[in-house]
């Protein structure tokens, strides 16, 4: 399997080298050293996150109430705050300030900016802006506590300026923005100068205090600029009386300009930022968590919840009877967790005793404490025991079992083994960080997502629990138009095993073996990187660390079959994020490349190459966006359309195909035949996947299990891909604007790296069949509410995008989606049981007692469905009973019997009228 991934990496594409060079030269020669370099820790690890300008501001502004001076300066200097993981060791978070990258400078509005940097340096601060900031922060803290900063966006149009009197001073500020500043008012000057001295400012730079506002100007229209405020920055460029005109004259055309004011008015500032806060706080929470800042707000919210993670040793040294010596690690240390900690004896005893009695490891137990049911899951390795406890109301048990598996896998990926993760002192703070994120995600997923619309947020929070534990990543069904291997031509210090590319949290390209992909996806998930990239434009994200991919390090049986042995090597993970893109690269050293010695840090060359690749990909983000915005082809319907209470709202919807379909439904719904519709559907759907199953089976027969697995995987992937292609074509046909998209897609699917010669014929046959089976449901109306399709072999799942879900708003629909995900939890746990049974059966297939076989067969569930009924919440009509709507949630599991590893499931929810 892995060999497929490895050999499928094409050679570098030379035609792009010139582009590459140009981009690279920007990167390489712009700054002398990359800004993340200082963050590299002693052991070579790096976790560097920097938001893009816009995000940074709102974030900083939000936090400005706490440490105003620091934020202010950093903000004006256009600096990004960086908190490195290494500094967390001291559990003290000292902000480090870094130079902004050229990329961001390029994007900055005013050309003056870079020039200004130079003057900043010539002001007599040889150590650069960082030292200024440090001085300031130490001096200013406590002195000017009352200073606040606010951003006001105003619209300016230089083309509407009157042409006369161009020579007059400060004209632009008045004419363009509408702010009156009288430089001759020198009464406050002395005082101001004194202030500026303290802040290491030039003496002749006068503060731009607002003395008046021009009627009908953009400034007065905002209602947020008050007389007495001082203008300190325009689009993040520091301004003063001297340079303001120059700065404003650089505005080329009509645009929004952000003005930053220093203000001392508290109340007003509070209200103006309130809105900002609400929209931004959730994401801020996430970013702050990532930066490792203590967030009391978040901590307090989960404090009452009993939750804990402990790493215990079963072997006790009776000599040293130290208190709590069996606890090797625990998090968090709060009151509710204290109770769980105090009963660790239960966990240890249960683990020991039940293993003796039943001969199997303990999996879980349930406890009642503080009036809450708490589920505890275990993972035992040699004589150590990892215990995670969470309340059942947040996480159902079946889910928690998956979560601990994921945690263990991620920790092993990061540290090699649980022992090395938990038993080394220097890891403690990192693990605290890791589990802080883990519990925040588990207990309050909604607070880490900050989607603008509540419906999307709801979707996030109710699906998070389920989706987070699928062994796969959300895959956006795009054609393979991305060639992320473009940058492979480099001197091999490291060999690149493969890479995968995410856009806004959707996987769009992958050249990694499945196992590695899942490892990386789990890592990114635990560090919330995917939602981060989805919602914010990352200024720059560089992560570098040694990893231990379970797939490469484990002596797998597979390698024995092919006669290929994994080289003894070390592996490194490099993740580079830029804007909404995130490119993860897995590197190998040793083996066929030079051996790594010690703890190598990230190599600039690699980081820059990856960055260059992302920059090259810039062009495609518009097409990806287009795909995200476009309606899905398995056309989704909104549950509320099917209830008469909301029918009058229908007029507001502007999607004619759905509407007509809807009317169709409501008419036929009353007929008795509608009852049967559901099952005709499912028969159709079960027919659809059969080609892949049968082909997998035949391959199995001829080429041995491992090969067959690989081929079957390809078949399924192709099937899915074909399926999607068909969909996009359908889309293109229905809407003219989509046709361009269609063409590019079609063209690009052809050089599919997964195509293998011997499969091609089968595939074309399959094609035709698939083309007939686009609809996931059948009948005249294709009523599908929601779907998830998981392909564990590839480690991907497909589900409607946030945009699609957002479009379907209503009162019932969010409930339905929540219900769907809840049901999926149940369905998945049943399927997981089936898989476990299957594996067990395969393991002891030698002892073939008939009764045993038959009895274990009972639980091999292939398909499972539940019919739900719902009615509107607030039914006011007393005479009539509320109308009800019924819909099915159906889960299908494919290919369980073909080979245990091939396991494709599909969950769907779709409706029938009543």
């Amino acid at each position: 399997m892995f060999s497929v991934g490895r050999y499928s990496i094409p050679r570098p594409v030379t035609r792009n080298l010139e582009d590459l060079d140009s981009v690279q030269s920007i990167l390489l020669h712009s700054d002398l050293e990359p800004e993340w370099l200082d963050s590299v820790q002693k052991n070579g690890e790096l976790f560097y996150l920097e938001l893009s300008e816009g995000e940074e501001e709102t974030l900083l502004q939000d936090s400005s109430s706490e440490v105003p001076a620091v934020n202010h300066v950093r903000f004006r200097e256009n600096e990004a705050e960086v908190i490195q993981e290494g500094s967390r060791k001291e559990r003290k978070y000292e902000p480090r300030l870094k130079k902004i990258t050229k990329i961001l400078k390029k994007k900055s509005l005013l050309p003056k900016h870079s020039g200004k940097k130079g003057t900043g340096g010539s002001d007599g601060h040889p150590s650069g802006p960082t030292s200024i900031l440090k001085h300031q922060s130490t001096q200013k803290v406590g002195v000017i506590v009352q200073q606040r900063y606010k951003d006001v966006c105003v619209y300016v149009n230089p083309k509407r300026l009157p042409n006369d009197g161009a020579g007059e001073k400060l004209k632009l500020l008045e004419a363009l923005v509408g702010i009156v500043h009288q430089s001759s008012w020198s009464s406050r000057r002395a005082e101001k100068q004194g202030e500026q001295d303290r802040s290491n400012k030039g003496i002749n730079e006068e503060k731009l205090v607002v003395h008046g506002l021009v009627p009908c100007s953009s400034a007065i229209k905002t209602g947020q600029i008050l007389i007495g405020d001082a203008l300190v920055a325009v689009n993040d460029v520091d301004v003063n009386a001297e340079n303001i005109e120059r700065v404003l004259s650089c505005i080329p055309g009509p645009m929004q300009v952000k003005l930053t004011f220093e203000t001392s008015v508290f109340e007003h500032e509070g209200t103006s930022q309130q809105r900002y806060k609400q929209a931004q706080s959730a994401m801020n929470n996430l970013v702050r968590l990532l930066w490792g800042e203590d967030n009391m707000d978040l901590q307090l919210a989960i404090q009452g919840m009993p939750h804990i993670v402990m790493y215990l040793t079963l072997k006790l040294d009776s000599e040293t009877s130290k208190d709590e010596q069996e606890i090797l690690y625990q998090y968090p240390i709060s009151e509710a967790s204290q109770k769980l900690k105090s009963v660790r004896g239960i966990f240890l005893t249960l683990c020991d005793m039940l293993e003796n009695v039943t001969g199997a490891h303990i999996i879980s137990s349930s406890l009642f404490l503080c009036g809450k049911l708490v589920q505890v899951v275990y993972c035992k390795e040699s004589d150590k025991l990892l215990v995670i406890g969470l309340p059942a109301e947040s996480v159902p048990l079946s889910q928690l079992r998956n979560m601990i598996t994921d945690v263990v896998r991620t920790l092993k990926f990061m540290y090699g083994s649980l022992d090395s993760a938990f038993c080394q002192v220097e890891n403690v703070s990192r693990l605290d960080h890791f589990f802080n994120l883990f519990f925040q995600r588990a207990i309050q997923p909604a607070r880490l997502h900050s989607n603008a619309s509540p419906s999307a947020q709801h979707y996030d929070s109710c699906s998070a629990l389920f989706l987070d534990n699928l062994p796969g990543v959300r895959w956006l069904t795009l054609a393979q138009e991305i060639k992320s291997e473009d940058y492979y031509d480099m001197r091999r210090l490291y060999m690149i095993l493969g890479s995968c590319l995410f856009y806004k949290g959707y996987l769009i390209g992958n050249h990694l073996p499945n196992e590695d992909l899942i490892d990386i996806a789990l890592y990114s998930r635990h560090y919330c990187l995917l939602p981060l990239a989805a919602e914010q434009r990352i200024g720059q994200l560089v992560i570098w660390r040694e990893v231990f991919p379970h797939h490469h390090l484990q002596p797998s049986d597979a390698s024995g079959v092919t006669g290929y042995r994994e080289p003894e090597a070390r592996y490194f993970l490099l993740i580079v994020g830029l804007r909404h893109f995130m490119l993860c690269v897995l590197l190998e050293t040793g083996g066929c490349t030079s051996k790594a010695i010690g703890n190598p840090g990230p190599d600039c060359v690699y980081v820059d190459q990856v960055k260059a690749t992302i920059l090259q990909l810039e062009g495609i983000d518009s097409s990806i966006e287009e795909r995200l915005e476009s309606p899905a082809i398995p056309c989704l319907s909104c549950a509320d359309w099917f209830l008469p209470a909301s029918r009058d709202k229908l007029e507001s919807f502007t999607t004619p195909p759905i509407l007509s379909k809807l009317q169709n439904t409501s008419k036929t719904a009353t007929s008795p035949t509608s009852k049967r519709r559901h099952f005709t559907d499912s028969s159709l759907r079960t027919r659809k996947p059969s080609p892949s199953r049968s082909s997998g089976g035949s391959d199995n027969g001829s080429e041995g299990p491992e090969e067959g697995g690989g081929l079957n995987l390809l078949a399924t992937v192709d099937q899915v891909r074909k399926h999607e292609r068909k969909e996009s074509q359908g889309f293109g046909g229905s809407e003219g604007s989509g046709s361009l998209f269609k063409v590019t897609k079609k063209k690009h699917t052809l050089p599919n790296p997964f195509h293998l010669g011997n499969l091609k014929k089968n595939l074309s046959e399959k094609d035709t069949e698939l083309y007939n089976a686009v609809k996931l449901t059948s009948g005249p109306e294709n009523t599908l509410f929601h779907y998830i399709s998981l392909e564990t072999m590839q480690g991907i799942f497909i589900t409607p995008t946030h945009k699609e879900v957002q479009q379907l708003s209503g009162s019932i629909h969010p409930q339905l989606i929540k219900n769907f995900h809840r049901c999926c939890l149940s369905i998945r746990s049943i399927f997981q049981q089936a898989v476990m049974k299957e594996k067990k059966k395969n393991a002891d297939s030698g002892s073939n007692s008939d009764s045993r076989k038959a009895s274990s067969d009972l639980n091999l569930v292939r398909e499972h469905g539940v019919l739900f009924e719902c009615s509107p919440d607030n039914w006011t009509d007393q005479k009539k009973p509320p109308p009800t709507m019924t819909y099915w949630v159906v889960g299908l599991s494919f290919g369980v019997s073909a080979a245990p590893a091939i396991f494709h499931r599909m969950y769907e929810a779709y409706a029938i009228g009543r």
Binding site: K339, L354, G359, L373, H678, L816, S851, N859, R862, V866
Partner: protein, 385 residues
């Protein structure tokens, strides 16, 4: 009935305060599963340790077995350790509930709550062990059989007041009658776990025919002798003929003439209001196809436990302390189906009934729903389903 799962079930009963073992019953593989005293001790010890710290341990599971703890009235701790396949916290919780009620039925609540003489209690409980075993056998399909005129362990006929007993009591009474050693007539003191847990009543049974018994719950008045010599001949003599037909071994509890749609391998019908149920693993027309009756019963029980634990609203005996899974669903589940390698299963939650069907794998999935609706119609004689 539970044996062929390959697992075993062990039921432990201890006093909650001191941890003195009262009895230990196990079934399944007996040689392996005589739990050593140390294990019993630590199973209870773990629970007591937690209780002292205000942490109540309720369940634990390993890859192959489940353990459930439950304390009743702060005096009796019941622990069940099951390695049966398909055992769930749900089923085991019901088992413990029924086991405790069985103890109440025979001994009265008073005796159990205020344990004065442990040795005597131990002796008394030996009797109830019989029910315990019976209970275990029915663990999965709890609530399934009730009776007053008990024919072969099933209730054939009952008076209106009898039906108003709690479902659990009905169930336990019929199990009790079935598990007592055969006699022509008995007079047995019982406590009703829900109706009168402290005041004993008399359970009178008279054997009318082999395999057919008439039961009465009464106060002190009619003496057993009176019933046996006067009442029984007077009322039942004329009916002996039809009763005889009733006792004839019937693999299903359907009135004659009822046919089920083809492909139905087994069914369980619960009358929700009446709190009674009918079931069969060999309904007419099912033939010998597919699974053996034993496997059908297992599969049906497994399906029932799955659906009842996850989707359908809680019915019957008091809900367990655990938050039921179905509370998390904003919408109500009405139907449910499962397709597995060897069979298909379908469940309907109708206003008055719950129907669980086991169907042959050749029945097409899309036909399950109409077929189940028809089966429900035929079984209930009700056109409104």
């Amino acid at each position: 009935m539970g044996e062929e799962g390959g697992g075993s079930v062990t039921l432990l009963c201890l006093t909650a305060s001191s941890g003195v073992p009262l009895f230990c019953r196990s079934m399944g593989a007996p040689s392996k599963h005589q739990l050593p005293f140390s294990v019993i001790g630590s199973l209870n010890g773990v629970h007591m340790f937690g209780a002292n710290l205000d942490v109540l341990l309720t369940a634990a599971c390993t890859a192959n077995s489940h353990v459930v703890w439950r304390v009743f009235h702060n005096s009796i701790t019941l622990i069940v350790l099951s390695s049966e396949e398909g055992a769930s916290d749900f089923a085991l919780g019901r088992l413990l509930d029924n086991a405790f009620s069985a103890m109440v039925l025979i001994l009265g609540l008073e005796e159990l709550v205020n344990v004065r003489n442990i040795e005597r209690l131990k002796k008394d409980l030996r009797v109830s062990g019989g029910i315990g075993e019976c209970l275990e056998a029915f663990a999965g399909a709890a609530e399934s059989r009730f009776g007053c005129l008990v024919a072969g362990g099933r209730l054939a006929l009952a008076t209106e007041p009898w039906w108003q007993l709690a479902p659990q009591e009905l169930l336990l009474l019929s199990w009790l009658v079935g598990s007592l050693p055969p006699h022509a007539a008995r007079d047995y003191p019982i406590y009703l776990p829900h109706g009168s847990p402290t005041v004993p009543h008399r359970l009178l049974t008279c054997q009318l025919l082999p395999g057919l018994e008439a039961c009465l719950i009464c106060g002190p008045r009619p003496a057993l002798h009176t019933v046996e010599t006067e009442l029984v001949p007077r009322f039942w003599k004329p009916l002996l003929e039809p009763l005889q037909a009733c006792v004839n071994p019937q693999p299903h509890s359907l009135p004659p003439g009822t046919t089920l749609p083809p492909g139905v391998l087994a069914f369980l019908l619960i009358h929700r209001e009446q709190r009674s149920s009918q079931s069969s693993v060999q309904p007419p027309g099912s033939g010998g196809e597919g699974l053996s009756p034993k496997h059908r019963a297992r599969a049906l029980r497994h399906f029932y436990a799955l659906v009842a634990a996850r989707y359908f609203p809680w019915e019957g005996s008091p809900a367990p302390p655990q938050e039921p899974f179905q509370a998390g669903f904003p919408h109500r589940a009405r139907h449910c189906y499962v397709v597995s390698a060897t069979h298909k299963a379908y469940a309907i939650h109708a206003p008055q009934h719950q129907l669980f069907l086991l169907l042959a794998p050749h029945v097409p999935t899309f036909a399950l729903r109409p077929l189940a609706a028809r089966a429900l119609q035929r079984l209930t004689g009700d056109a409104a389903c």
